[in-house]
């Protein structure tokens, strides 16, 4: 197989007029800026336009809001991170409710069936929000694994306005991701959807049918 590698690279090196890098001017993206209030209005507007529930709340009040929403949405079991501030705050407030919390602290192999078929919702933390497109910026890892935001039918996300960036470009630079990427970086802009049947928009295909953002100050 290594023969193929060498053959492909050799042929590419034989191509004419190659080698010189082409300059890229990113100012068209860098020029995109929104002030504080504009940014919130744009972000929430875009998110709601694709069927996302956005609840504007505070750092103190969001757990209570979460509890209220879980009850309203008849969530029986909520998966969350065991050791993050968001996970802990949610757990303590949900103790007094009918909602059972499940910490995603086992390997998926140990509770695959349970996660796929017996969890109603997942809670995760957004590392940021992108104003241009109305997108949540998530970095998965040991605390908040990849499937937490994907498999349960409802996805709750806690996001602070302080973590807004105008564009994805700004966000990548802020986190210096070019220097090292986590195994999975995600942008999420609404619940799962499809228009594959006669361009009719349907929400909730393979991912969550509901995306609920708790937007704090």
């Amino acid at each position: 197989m290594s023969g193929s590698r060498e053959n492909i690279l050799r042929r590419l090196r034989d191509s004419r007029e190659t080698g010189a890098a082409v300059g890229r001017d990113f100012t068209v993206i860098e020029d995109l800026q929104w002030s504080g209030d504009e940014a919130v209005a744009r972000f929430t507007g875009l998110m709601r336009a694709v069927n996302t529930e956005v609840h504007e709340t505070t750092r103190e009040a969001w757990p209570a809001k979460l509890a209220e929403l879980c009850v309203a949405k008849q969530v029986m079991r909520l998966a969350l991170a065991a050791d993050t501030p968001v996970g802990q705050a949610a757990r303590s407030v949900l103790l007094d409710t009918s909602v059972e919390t499940v910490a995603y602290s086992r390997d998926i192999e140990d509770w695959r069936e349970e996660l796929f078929f017996q969890v109603d919702a997942g809670l995760s933390t957004a590392a940021g929000g992108i104003v241009e497109t109305g997108s949540l910026f998530l970095q998965t890892g040991p605390d908040e694994p990849r499937l937490l935001s994907l498999v349960p039918p409802i996805h709750f996300v806690v996001l602070s306005r302080a973590d807004f960036a105008n564009t994805l470009l700004e966000m990548l630079r802020r986190h210096d991701l070019a220097a090292g990427m986590p195994t999975n970086v995600l942008l999420i802009s609404g619940p799962s959807k499809t228009a594959d049947i006669e361009q009719t928009l349907v929400y909730g295909v393979h991912g969550p049918r509901q995306l609920v953002v708790l937007l704090t100050d």
């Binding site: 069936e113 564009t167 995600l186």
Partner: protein, 473 residues
Amino acid sequence: MDKPTRQFHVRIQEALNDPQIRANFRRAMDGLMTKRANMFPDPVELERLRDLGAAVRRNALAQLPELLERLEAKCAENGITVHWAESVDEANRIVLDICRRHSAKSVIKGKSMVSEEMELNHYLGEFGIEALEADLGEYIVQLAGQLPSHIVMPAIHMNTRQIAELFAEKLEGVGYIEDAEELTKVAREILRHKFFDADVGVSGVNFAVAETGSLVLIENEGNGRLTTTAPPVHVAVTGIEKVVENLEDVTPLLSLLPRSATGQNVTTYVNMISGPRRDGERDGPQEVHLLLLDNGRTRIHADPELRQTLQCIRCSACMNHCPVYARIGGHAYGTVYPGPIGEILMPQILGCEEVGALPGASSLCGACGEVCPVRIPIPKMLVRLRKEAVDNTGASPVKGGGAQRSFGEAATWKGWEKVHASPALYRLATRTATAMGGLPALGPLKTWASVREVPKPAAKTLHQRLEERGNSR
């Protein structure tokens, strides 16, 4: 006319005669064009963004071998195994080997045009491995035993009624439900179990970042995320051209692609994968493989003009805006990539013997080039490939160059040249036509005359009238 070309014309005629195809495509394309236009309200910003998108792609192609090596090294650091395949056969064998090493019985697939190029489902099926499409459109098309008719919306040629009939016929225990929401629910339930059971996930790649060794995938449904996360093994297949140099380079492409394709400002999910499950992580595949496929791309890369074909980011805007595609649909082309991009890409991959007639199926109206987010000069390339298809130098860089050349057509153009390169001969010919008062509706004119009046030469040519008027010199 050679056999493939004849068959092409037959498929075109069938599509034109099918009112369902005509209506489904017309409605869909009108909607997509409007949505795209709404997404780019500021023409100045759009052109600047297209400049940047084109620069990103041109930069990548200018340094392709170096960037592929860098991508490979970075992927290796991240724990992603990189494979290289010159042909689709070799690519299929690599995927099969990976499946066999894991004793895989079932493969779940995210949407991938390169896997269509490989006919991977069929190949794995021959070895007893079930490969199931998880993108709803692809799932529908696979169920119908068809190929995608559009690169972004594979089942766009069908309407709800046709899909309801298909589900009722093919899926056990499913009745006729003419409702997109209910049909989607049915597919979700079936596929959720398949995801749960799948041994291997196969996906495509939208962009591969050399700087960080990351695979960027975009989608709306979540099937791509599941495919790349739920099964223990993830195999990403992609063409060698999909690499970009830096992580930042993906930002203009992510801004252009969904807006150009479906008129969304962003897809629901943008998924950047930089490795399998690491220590301490609770999920994600244990193995990630990246398969880099050539399949004729190095040959396309060799020619600086033809290389622009490889700038493509598979957004489908060219087909959405193509008046020919809107009328004949994707299947008539008979190739994995239909529409304008297919007309320039497929002859270079499959050769002019097989599909050299494709670039002729264009009025050269330029709508494709006008909307291409990475500025591929598609109309110019259509003309270039028409030239290569009838090349008589024996030195065409395109596979099968010259295969479409026929004695009759070449002689006709030679005759045309003789008449138009000689002012005297030309004047004689036009004055003769004027004197005769018309041409008989024979040969090519017959087609013309079937729906149009045949134009009659004027009583006096412009040459004659301006000579009388004193303008001639």
